[in-house]
Amino acid sequence: MFTLETGSGFWSPIIWISVIVIAFLIMYILRGFGKKEYKEETEQVKSFLSGNPEYEKEEMHIKGSNIYWGFTESLKWVYNILRKIHTGNASDYVLWFVVVMAVVFIFVGLM
C-alpha cells in the first residue's frame, strides 16, 4: 500500500525516510565524539578568508544574479538568442503563435 510500482521498479518513501533518519542518527553520534571546547572570541571563531580582510557584512552577501555567472558565461550564445526571442512585444507573441500553428499544420497535414 505504501510502495509505488512504476513500470520497471518501485519507490517507497517510508523506507527512504527511515534510512535517512538512521543515517542522521549515526552522523549525530559521530559528531558527539568531536572536541567541543573552543574559545569564544579568539582567532578560532573568525571566518578564514585566506588572509583577505573581512568586509562589511552587506558587501559580503552574494547577490542573486551573480551566483551562476560561470554557467551563464559559458552558455552566453544560448542566452543571447533566448533573450532576443522573448521580445516582450505583443504582436511578436501572436507571430510565434501563427508560426507554430503553420509548422504543426504541415506535420499533421502530411501524416
Partner: protein, 525 residues
C-alpha cells in the same frame, strides 16, 4: 440517504452554479462589511469543494455521469447543453477547487490594504466557476464559452494592480493572445459543426472521420489550447503575466492554465480518440509533436529561469518547465496509444503525467504564495535587493524549503513520485528524452538553491530590520498546501490508486465516455 443521492445527481450543475451565484452576490454582500464578504467567499468555495468531493465519490467508482440542462433526457441528435463528468474531469475539478480555496484564504490578509476588493472577489469566484465549467462540460461550444470567460476574468485579475504600469502591459499581452486563440477555437468548432451538425463531444467523437477539415480543426484546437497552457514558443505571455499578477490571483490562473491543459487531453484522447486508435500514424505524429514541444518547454523554462532577477518571474518560468513535464508524460501516452504492445508503458506515462498535474499545481502555487509573502513583508521583487530574510520570517523559509524540494522533484516530496513515473516510461520510448528531463530537473534544483541563498540566507540587511512574519491567514494557506505536498509525497500510492488511476484510465478507454450519450457506440477499449 436519498438527500445525498439527490445532491450527487445534481452536483455537476451545482458545482458551477454555486460559485457563479456567489460571484454575483459578492458586490451586494460587500456593502455589509469586509469580513462578511471574505467569509462568504470562503463559504461558497467550501460548499463547491463539498459538491466536488461528493461527485468524485460517485464518478470514480462507477464511471462517467451525464447531467442534461433543461430536460430529463436528451434527444438524438443531442441538442441540449449537457455536462459529462468522467474520472479525468473530476480529477481536474479537485485540483481547481483546492487552488481556489487556498487562494481565497490567502487573499484574506494579503489583499487587505488594496481597494476595490469586491471586484477582486467577484473575479476570483467567476474565474473558479468558469474553470470548473471548462472541466465538467460535455458540449464543445460550452467549452469555448467557459474558455473565453476564463480568459476575460484572469486578464482582469492580472491587471488588478493597475497603479503598477507593468501589470496592465502583461494583461494586455495576455488578452490579445488569448482572444485570438479563442477565436481560432471557435473557428475549429464551426468547422466540426458544419460537417457533423453536432456540438456534443461524445456524438462528435463517434461520427468523426479524419477529413481534411478535421485535420485543420485538430491543429487549431491542439495549438491554441497548447498556447494557453504554455507550450514553448507561445509561452511568453506566461512569465509576463504570472510575474506581475497579485500572487493570490496567480494561484487560480495556474488552475486555469491546467484547465486548458485538460482541454488538450480531452481533444486528443476523446474527441479524436477513435482516429488516433485506428490510424496510428496520425497519433504518432501528433504525439511526437507534443513530446518534442514538451521537452523544449522544459529546456527553455529551466534555462530562462536561471537568469531571472525578479522573484515571481523566476517561479513563472519554473511553472512553464513543470507544464513541459506534463506534456512530456501525456505526449508519450499519446504516441503509444495505437499499438497494444506498449500498453503498460503508455499507462504508466499517462499516470505520471496526470499525477504531475496535481503535483505541479501544488508546488508552483506554494512557491507563488511564498513569493507573495516575501513581497507582502518586504515590498521587494528583485532578488538582488533581498537577503537574510530567514531570520525573522521563519515559517515562510520552511515553506519555501518544502516548495523548493517539491518543484525540483526531490525524494520525500510529491514531485519525485510523478517525475519518477514520467522518467521511467519516457526512458523506454527514447532514453535521450528522459536524460534531458532529469538534467533539467537538477538544474531547477540548482536555481531554487540560488534563490534560497540570495533571498533567505546571508547577513541581516539593515533595510529589513523591522520585517516581521506574515499574518496568520497567509501562513494557514501555505501550511495547507505544504501539508498536502508532504502527504502526497509520503503516500503516493494511495493518491495514485484513488484519484490518478481512474483519471488516466478514463482518458485511455474513451468508449464508455461516448456510450453515455451514443448508446449504440461499439468502438474503443
Amino acid at each position: 440517504m436519498n438527500i445525498l443521492n439527490l445532491l450527487i445527481q445534481h452536483s455537476p450543475a451545482l458545482i458551477v452554479a454555486v460559485p457563479l451565484f456567489g460571484a454575483f452576490l459578492t458586490p451586494l454582500i460587500s456593502r455589509v462589511n469586509e469580513k462578511v464578504r471574505n467569509i462568504f467567499a470562503i463559504f461558497v468555495l467550501a460548499l463547491t469543494g463539498v459538491f466536488v468531493l461528493l461527485l468524485s465519490s460517485d464518478v470514480i467508482p462507477n464511471g462517467p455521469r451525464v447531467y442534461i440542462f433543461g430536460a430529463k433526457d436528451h434527444t438524438i441528435p443531442v441538442l441540449r447543453i449537457l455536462f459529462e463528468v468522467d474520472g479525468m474531469s473530476i480529477f481536474m475539478a479537485i485540483v481547481s477547487v483546492i487552488l481556489a480555496l487556498v487562494a481565497v484564504i490567502y487573499s484574506w490578509s494579503f489583499m487587505k490594504e488594496n481597494s476595490g476588493l469586491d471586484k477582486y472577489y467577484t473575479l476570483l469566484l467567476l474565474l473558479t466557476a468558469s474553470m470548473l465549467g471548462l472541466e465538467l462540460t460535455g458540449d464543445i461550444f460550452n467549452f469555448f464559452v467557459f474558455l473565453e470567460i476564463t480568459c476575460i476574468s484572469s486578464c482582469a485579475l492580472i491587471a488588478f494592480w493597475v497603479h503598477e504600469g507593468e501589470a496592465v502591459e502583461a494583461a494586455f499581452k495576455y488578452i490579445v493572445v488569448s482572444a485570438i486563440g479563442a477565436l481560432f477555437v471557435l473557428f475549429a468548432i464551426a468547422l466540426l459543426y458544419g460537417q457533423y451538425d453536432a456540438l456534443n463531444i461524445a456524438t462528435l467523437a463517434s461520427v468523426i472521420q479524419y477529413t481534411f477539415l478535421d485535420k485543420i480543426a485538430l491543429v487549431l484546437l491542439v495549438v491554441v489550447l497548447g498556447m494557453k497552457a504554455g507550450l514553448v514558443p507561445m509561452h511568453m505571455w506566461l512569465p509576463d503575466s504570472y510575474g506581475r499578477a497579485p500572487p493570490s490571483a496567480t494561484i487560480i490562473i495556474i488552475g486555469a492554465t491546467q484547465a486548458s491543459l485538460y482541454g488538450v487531453f480531452r481533444v486528443c484522447f476523446t474527441l479524436y480518440g477513435g482516429i488516433f486508435r485506428d490510424m496510428t500514424l496520425s497519433s504518432v505524429s501528433v504525439g511526437w509533436i507534443i513530446v518534442i514541444l514538451g521537452l523544449i518547454t522544459v529546456l527553455v523554462g529551466v534555462i530562462m529561469a536561471l537568469i531571472q532577477i525578479d522573484f515571481r518571474r523566476l517561479i513563472a518560468y519554473s511553472a512553464v518547465a513543470e507544464i513541459g513535464y506534463i506534456f512530456l508524460g501525456i505526449g508519450v501516452g499519446l504516441v503509444v496509444l495505437g499499438d497494444p504492445t506498449m500498453l503498460d508503458v503508455g499507462k504508466t506515462a499517462m499516470q505520471g503525467g496526470v499525477f504531475h498535474i496535481i503535483n505541479d499545481a501544488l508546488d508552483v502555487s506554494l512557491l507563488f504564495l511564498v513569493a507573495g509573502a516575501v513581497y507582502y513583508a518586504t515590498k521587494e521583487n528583485s532578488l538582488n535587493r533581498m537577503g537574510g530574510l530567514a531570520r525573522n520570517m521563519k515559517y515562510t523559509t520552511v515553506f519555501f524549503l518544502i516548495g523548493l524540494l517539491a518543484v525540483a522533484g526531490m525524494p520525500p516530496m510529491n514531485g519525485f513520485a510523478s517525475k519518477l513515473l514520467i522518467y521511467e516510461s519516457v526512458y523506454r520510448i527514447n532514453p535521450i528524452l528522459s536524460i534531458i528531463a532529469i538534467l533539467c530537473s537538477i538544474l531547477l534544483l540548482a536555481i531554487f538553491v540560488k534563490v534560497f541563498h540570495s533571498a533567505f540566507l546571508g547577513p541581516k540587511l539593515p533595510r529589513f530590520k523591522d520585517v516581521k512574519e506574515v499574518p496568520k491567514s497567509m501562513l494557514l494557506a501555505m501550511g495547507v498546501i505544504a501539508s498536502l505536498i508532504i502527504i502526497f509525497g509520503i503516500f503516493p500510492q494511495i493518491v495514485l490508486s484513488n484519484i490518478v488511476q481512474p483519471a488516466a484510465d478514463s482518458l485511455l478507454n474513451y468508449g464508455d465516455y461516448i456510450r453515455q450519450i451514443v448508446s449504440s457506440f461499439s468502438g474503443g477499449m
